[in-house]
């Protein structure tokens, strides 16, 4: 049993030790925080350093940053987790204050019932030392050495953040290429899907070709390919599509239809547009023929108004009177032509208010409206001229490649033949029409010509029903041809996309930065092909002799900085104009372009007339 005084002594010693233990626990947590922080800061700093040197994804920095914070928190928790025992604290205090193990022995002895009088002596002795314990001095709150290291590492890491990261130019180029390839793939996929949805192909081969294109788009978008691989894939898809297209191109009927399609709009479409324009024009002017006279009158009024604006005093009043008269005359004419020009009323009001500026503005607005009406009229006339060119009978329609119209005509003839008993004159007229159409029908294949011939024979034999069937079959044949033309157009659209993708990938530009060279309706013209800077609308270049073009291609030397990051020399070219920062070495770009040009030359993509010029151009660039 402890004496009461010993109990009191022991509790005083324990209380002092508890205070120290609490502070030590807090101190350990604080220390643990900084140790964890040092570890975290080191990991983060290391990852930042690696990020600056190596191609590591940015997300790694975020993760290591989070890990660093977690380390500090874990360090704090681990440090402060364990509650120090009193005996342990007593031993620690003994060592720290050089108390010669008085406190630890006293605590141990207090629990020993056999210690007897020695226990009281030891407790008393220990209590004498407790006064020396100042927990705040013994365990001061301060930044441990490790905190200085942690902060140092953090400062270094933050400093590292200001250093521009090193990335190999090859890596950066690869990244840019990947981005461009993925974008090209995505756009190609999207456009091909649209094409498939809007114009479902009739032919199996076309469908397969377009499906192969969607697969290629998916591959470019999802699989990481190098620029060379992607270009190879695109080139291979292009050659496959070209094969399909050339298969279709062998059909002379399609060639005929294509040239007809290039020369104008379809008959139905034309008629619809003419009707719409007529309606629009009639709503604003009952007599469109009077528009020209009205415009001349209004131009004169405008000139008068300009002189009126510069005059003052009595001459201004006279000019105003003259203007008023002219306006009244113009208003009468416009009324007669059924033209509604609300600006005229405003102009008259402005004149009455002696506001020449407003008057001029209103007159100019009225003039613009008149201009628009005149443009409408011109367009209408142009369409009407095109409509006049449409074939009047089957022979002309077939001759002019107006397949849709021809098919319609054939269907109408078949219906006529089927429906009523035709008079001999009508029958003769029909036979005459078919006879005339016999020869142009041969251009669309033997089958149509045969069907027409068959129909004529059947009609001559009096078998109108079978004749009508033959005519309907011929119409169907023409419709099939039309659908094949649609397939060809889909393939052309696919080729156009491939060409766009190829440009985008080879030049390292985004999809939107590249311009389509336009391939529509040029697919059959293998001999001519497309050349550098030429577009589909340019025709006949291929036929021009090389010497005729030599003057246009005088070698030009371009001076400028040719290092990556430096401004790119801006030159005027016929075609795509690119401005901005160069992203690859000049030599690499020139070599790549030359390789592509060589490929284009060998595949006869460049028109013959341009070939020498292209070779010379790249030779000069190399030099």
């Amino acid at each position: 049993m402890l004496r009461p005084t010993s109990v009191s002594e022991l509790s005083q010693i324990q209380a002092a030790l508890r205070r120290v233990a609490r502070r030590r626990r807090r101190g350990r947590a604080w220390h643990g925080f900084w140790r964890g922080g040092l570890l975290g800061a080191s990991v983060w700093g290391l990852s930042l350093a690696l990020f600056k040197l190596m191609p590591i994804p940015t997300v790694v920095l975020w993760w290591t940053g989070a890990l660093g914070i977690a380390c500090a928190v874990i360090g704090f928790i681990v440090g402060g987790w364990r509650r120090p025992e009193l005996a342990e604290t007593a031993r620690w205090v003994d060592v720290q204050l050089r108390l010669r193990e008085r406190l630890s022995t006293a605590l141990e002895l207090a629990a020993n019932a056999d210690a007897g009088s020695w226990r009281d002596l030891v407790l008393q002795d220990a209590l004498g030392q407790v006064a020396k314990i100042e927990s705040k001095k013994l365990v001061p709150v301060r930044f441990p050495k490790v905190a200085r290291w942690a902060l140092g590492v953090l400062v270094v890491a933050v400093g590292l953040g200001f250093i521009p990261e090193y990335r190999s130019s090859a890596h950066q180029r690869r990244q840019a290429d990947t981005k461009v390839i993925q974008e090209a793939g995505a756009r190609m996929l999207e456009l091909t899907k649209q094409e498939l949805a809007q114009h479902p192909p009739v032919l199996d081969s076309t469908r397969k070709s377009l499906e192969a294109l969607t697969e290629l788009g998916t591959k470019l978008e999802r699989v990481s390919l190098t620029r060379g691989e992607a270009l190879k894939e695109v080139a291979s898809a292009t050659s496959r599509l070209q094969e399909s297209l050339s298969g279709l191109g062998k059909n002379p009927a399609l060639q005929k239809m294509t040239s007809a399609a290039r020369s104008g709009r379809p008959a139905e479409d034309l008629q619809k547009r003419i009707e719409a324009l007529q309606k629009q024009l009639a709503a604003q002017a009952e007599d469109p023929e009077a528009l020209e006279d009205l415009q001349k009158q209004l131009e004169q009024i405008q000139q008068l108004a300009q002189s009126y604006a510069q005059q003052t005093g009595a001459s201004a009043a006279a000019a105003r009177q003259q203007l008023s008269n002219a306006l009244n005359a113009f208003s009468q004419s416009a009324l007669q032509a059924g033209l509604s020009l609300p600006q005229l009323d405003d102009a008259i009001a402005a004149l009455a208010a002696a506001n020449p500026d407003q008057f001029l503005k209103d007159i100019t607005a009225a003039l613009t409206d008149l201009d628009k009406l005149r443009a409408l009229k011109d367009k209408l006339e142009s369409l009407q001229a095109q409509a006049e060119k449409l074939g009047r009978d089957l022979a002309e329609q077939l001759q002019q490649g107006q397949v849709e119209a021809a098919a319609d005509t054939l269907e109408k003839l078949a219906e006529k033949l089927q429906a009523a008993n035709l008079s001999p004159e009508e029958m003769r007229a029909m036979l005459e029409e078919l006879t005339k159409a016999q020869s142009p029908a041969g251009e669309y294949g033997d089958q149509i010509a045969d069907l027409l011939k068959q129909a004529m024979e059947q009609m001559q034999q009096g078998d109108q029903g079978k004749g009508a069937q033959s005519l309907a079959a011929a119409a169907q044949e023409l419709k099939d041809l039309l659908q094949q033309l649609g397939d060809a157009q889909s393939l052309l659209a696919g080729l156009d996309n491939l060409d766009h993708a190829s440009q985008s990938i080879s030049m390292g530009l985004g999809w939107g930065q590249c311009q389509s060279r336009g391939m529509s309706f040029n697919w059959f013209a293998d001999a001519g092909g497309k050349g550098a800077g030429s577009s589909s609308t340019e025709s006949g270049l291929a036929d021009r002799p090389p010497e005729a073009l030599a003057g246009d291609f005088e070698p030009t030397k371009i001076k400028g900085q040719i290092s990556p990051g430096a401004p790119m020399p801006s030159i005027t070219l016929k075609g795509v104009s690119i401005k901005g920062q160069s992203r690859v070495q000049y030599e690499e770009a020139a070599t790549a372009a030359q390789t592509e040009a060589q490929a284009a030359l060998s595949q006869e993509k460049i028109p013959r007339a341009y070939r020498n010029a292209v070779r010379d151009y790249f030779d000069d660039l190399k030099q």
């Binding site: 342990e88 031993r91 620690w92 060592v95 720290q96 010669r100 193990e101 008085r102 630890s104 022995t105 006293a106 141990e108 002895l109 020993n112 210690a115 007897g116 009088s117 020695w118 226990r119 002596l121 030891v122 002795d125």
Partner: protein, 333 residues
Amino acid sequence: MSTESQIQSFRTTYAALRGEIAKVIVGHDEIVAHTLIALFAGGHVLLEGVPGLGKTLLIRTLSEVLDLGFNRIQFTPDLMPADILGTNLVMESDSGRREFQFQRGPIFAHLILADEINRATPKTQSAMLEAMQEKQVTAGGELRKLSEPFFVMATQNPIDQEGTYPLPEAQLDRFFFKILVGYPSAADLNEVINRTTAGARAEVNKVLTRENLLKLMKLVREVPVASHVKDYAVRLVLATHPKTDTAASIANQYLRFGSSPRGAQTLILAGKVRALTQGRFNVSFEDIQTAALSALRHRLIPNFEAEAEGITTDHVIAQILRDVPVTAEAVNA
């Protein structure tokens, strides 16, 4: 008598002893302190040093201040065990009858000065083994108890001196402390000259009787030792055991054998006495560390490598003291 007054008495006695001895012995404070520690702990002391450094004088002075029976044995190469222990002699009684009678040797005293112990042969040296450990002797076929307290204070010249025989390990282990006596400092030497070349020799008084000494020896054993302090002493001793898990690296390198358990006992007992001499009621790590050299140096046996490189056991112990942490908390602190 309460514990507190006994402790007070211990301190007074110790101070008186130091005072009396200091009248004769100049300097050598640590040697005197260690000798007295061994005395209160009930252990034997081996003093080693070249001749003329005051080893014998110290022990003779100690015998003078203690009111105990004292014998001096001068060990020589021709000294026989019987010369130490005693022997049966044929004696004629008053009635004229001749009979064997045991003639006690010089070992039968409380305080024995075994001067130059390493000059005797190992056989003679070993004669003291039983007396030192069991405090009894077997002579003439009879077991004879030695009177308590029994202390052997031996002196020896360094073992590489001519005409000496190294003490056997078993006997060395029975010495509580082995104290090395070094050369005095200039100031001490001056004082020695002053005291020994002018005037009369200082007279010392007896300050401690046998009974009081026995009481104080009993008190020493009651001093409490905390478990972590005991653990430290144990870890120190274990660290001297080469080729074991607990061995210090220097022990593995330079020791053939480590300390016996007597080493740990010595550390604790010496610590207890030192605590009392310093007015404390408990043993501290420092008490253990202070006693370590004297308690362990003769209990460690160096290997050939140590001897070749001139590494002494003192070097090894000093390194072990540096290597072995007092407590885990102290290490963290």
